[in-house]
Amino acid sequence: MQGKGLLTGMGITFREFFRKKVTEEYPDVQPDLGDRFRGGKIHLVASKCIACGLCQNACPNGSVRLTTVKDANNKRQLATYVHDTGLCLYCNLCIEACPTKCIEWTKEFALSSYSRDGLVFDCLEAARQRGDVKPPEAPQPDGEKG
């Protein structure tokens, strides 16, 4: 009969009227992002970093940028470490490339900014502010590190 489908549809919407709602009341209730969440910015544990640059090489879009200096032991140390979230594809390749597992995602996802500069995060500076710095090593006696 013509009109049966219309009534069925109305029945469905009417039933839905009284069902439980699925709204997530976002700013009041923070979403559960899950353990494997990929997003936010890079959290760098500076004390574990060996400044190998593999994360920079793994990045498809040049969003992870770092520079190194040689320290007294002729060992590479981080000079800068920048995560440009505006370029980031959130592909996880940098995290997987890290041999010492010293980078991971933060769960801050609300990163919008009025300018592109606001999307560039200095991860090393953030690490310093957390007090996470590499303990300065005494010059080693053999000094033969290449």
Binding site: Q2, G3, K4, G5, L6, T8, G9, G11, I12, T13, E16, V22, L33, G34, D35, R36, F37, R38, G39, A58, C59, P60, N61, L89, Y90, C91, N92, L93, E96, W105
Partner: protein, 364 residues
């Protein structure tokens, strides 16, 4: 009476062009005389960009082509490279890939149906579909931490195994799916207005569909039985028992209903895959630097939009010499003009909806 046709620019900013598609409509009153799609507003030059990336780095870019069915985009590229390298993928990874690709197909078809219903003015159907799609995205989020651009399927396997409890949750989704389908049947497919809007509109004959290289639901709605999963089984698709839904007429209604039935078939595949899935590793032994041998490969997979092909040329280095994707949505979009002619403006959005273009893929 002397009348004149006039031109109407539909898009690139328009509520129902599914992104930044522009259609130059030549209209006679409300009747379409000619519809010229203009694309390229979302062109990012992915093919050129990928020539400068390593093979592994090109996978995230495929996510951004058909962002509704990203898992399958990953899958196609990875299998193409694996084919070139002659790489065997572990069993468990194969099953996870199939489950992910089919879940992703359902999610994509949900967006497709939802957007189409929304274009026809039925907002509630759209919201219901989006609501249920959320459960799939949640599954993806649990498995790889991303809801849309996954980069989960990798050359040689998948990024990591699914977490504890994931299989059970996926199983619950599979069990709940018939009820969801029942709701859609009642609200959308059973609705007489919706049927009147869709039936006998924009008929595409099968021989024309083949000649225009249409694929996916558009081709199958015309009754041509071509599904890459069946005709050229990739991965382990030959192990599953599923049907290829076919249309009879090739009108809007067939193009819609074929995909709705495909969702049910995908559920069947997931169901079997969940039952058969073995334990084991999820990543093959892959060298750190992937250097396929000199040569070239073309591999195609069945995307939710159609026949998605990857053509990868290797010069033996770590970066592809040439990287090309055959994007089904772009090919299907060619049909827009001939399908729209003689129908009304309101039908243009419906036809566009049934062709299901994702502009990220069309423009690439």
């Amino acid at each position: 009476m002397q009348t004149q046709t006039y031109e109407l620019n539909m898009g690139p900013q328009h509520p129902s062009t599914h992104g930044v598609l522009r259609i130059i409509l030549e209209l006679d009153g409300e009747v379409v005389v000619k519809a010229t799609p203009v694309i390229g507003y979302l062109h990012r030059g992915i093919e050129k960009i990928c020539e400068g990336k390593t093979y592994g780095q090109t996978i995230p870019f495929t996510d951004r082509m058909d962002y509704m069915h990203s898992m399958n985009n990953n899958l196609g590229l990875c299998q193409a490279v694996e084919k070139l390298m002659g790489l065997e993928v572990p069993e468990r990874a194969e099953y996870i890939r199939v489950i992910m690709a089919e879940l992703s197909r359902i999610a994509s078809h949900m967006i497709y149906a939802g957007a189409l219903v929304n274009d026809l003015g039925g907002v509630t159907g759209f919201v219901f579909l989006i609501r249920d799609r959320e459960r799939i995205l949640e599954l993806f989020n649990k498995a790889c931490g991303a809801r849309m651009t996954f980069n989960y399927i990798r050359i040689g396997g998948v990024q990591q195994d699914v977490p504890e409890g994931w299989v059970e949750e996926c199983r619950r989704f599979v069990d709940d799916f018939p009820e969801m389908m029942h709701t859609y049947n009642g609200l959308i497919m059973g609705n007489e207005i919706f049927q009147a809007r869709m039936k006998d509109i924009a008929i595409l004959p099968p021989d024309r569909a083949v000649a225009m290289a249409a694929s996916g639901g558009v081709l199958r709605a015309s009754g041509v039985n071509y599904d890459v999963r069946k005709d050229d089984p990739y991965g382990i698709y030959d192990r599953f028992d599923f049907d290829v839904p076919l249309g009879t007429k090739g009108d809007n209604w067939d193009r819609f209903i074929v995909r709705m039935q495909e969702m049910e078939q995908s559920i069947r595949i997931i169901d079997q895959a969940l039952k058969q899935m073995p334990e084991g590793p999820v990543m093959a032994k892959v060298p750190k630097v992937i250097k396929p041998p000199v040569g070239e490969v073309y591999h195609h997979v069945e995307n939710s939009k159609g026949d998605l092909g990857y053509y990868v040329v290797s010069d033996g280095g770590m970066k592809p010499y040439r990287w090309h994707a055959r994007r089904p949505a772009m090919v299907n979009l060619q049909l827009l003009d001939e399908l729209c002619r003689g129908y009304k403006i309101a039908d243009v959005v419906a036809i566009l909806g049934t062709l299901d273009p994702v502009l990220g893929e069309v423009d690439c």
